[in-house]
Symmetry: C2
Subunit: 98 residues, 2 copies
DNA sequence: CGCGTTCGCTACACATTCCGTAGCAAAGGA
DNA sequence: TCCTTTGCTACGGAATGTGTAGCGAACGCG
């Protein structure tokens, strides 16, 4: 399978593509404070359907931001850096939304 | 219509929801260097279908990050701050993706 | 061991979303 | 006038996401 969207293959395009799918950003967000089990993630993410969650976890693992470990799913070191950006997103949201 | 996803109404959830739709992040990315017309955005975004683009622009305008002006669509000041985070995302991508 | 619970995950049918194409009315140029 | 380009909508089909049920494996407990 090729990357959906841009055909340039530029890294940023691949990232925008994967993160622009439902639950991607949310999963990253929920993992920001440590690992969660599959079931735990489901609970954290408004009971997302297991099929969708599994698909998203597959995508995120392929991107190298999430990995499956002893106590469930966790961010990789790269993923933790990405999560820092999400923290900025959260601050932005608190300041500008509603 | 209410916010899809989280029922808490927390700002960050609303943002994760809107940005987690296809083309949202990409549109923000393509507007980072200045305004683009509807057609210009379409060209920049791999010829996204006009229906999808229009839907996304509606979402992003509702979120307050994009506005329609004289020379097409542009980021609001809040949107420009958001775009800065995307720049960090781009740097992250160059460093960690393939 | 046996029994129940929880785990990660899959199957499958249904619903929503997205897409591609066509095309409209309005604005501009020649 | 006629041709082009604009922003945008309509609509049917394709892709994606959803909800429910349930599997086999691993656990706790007696």
């Amino acid at each position: 399978m090729s990357v959906r969207g841009s055909k340039t293959g530029r890294p940023v395009m691949r990232v925008l593509d994967v993160l622009g799918r439902r639950w991607s950003l949310r999963v990253l967000w929920e993992l920001r404070d440590g690992p969660l089990t599959f079931r735990g993630l489901r609970d954290a993410c408004d009971d997302v359907s297991p099929s969708s969650l599994n698909q998203r976890l597959t995508d995120l693992r392929a991107l190298g931001v999430v990995e499956a470990g002893e106590d469930g799913y966790a961010l990789t070191s790269a993923g933790r850096e990405l999560a820092k950006l999400l923290l900025g997103l959260s601050r932005w949201a608190e300041a500008h939304v509603r």
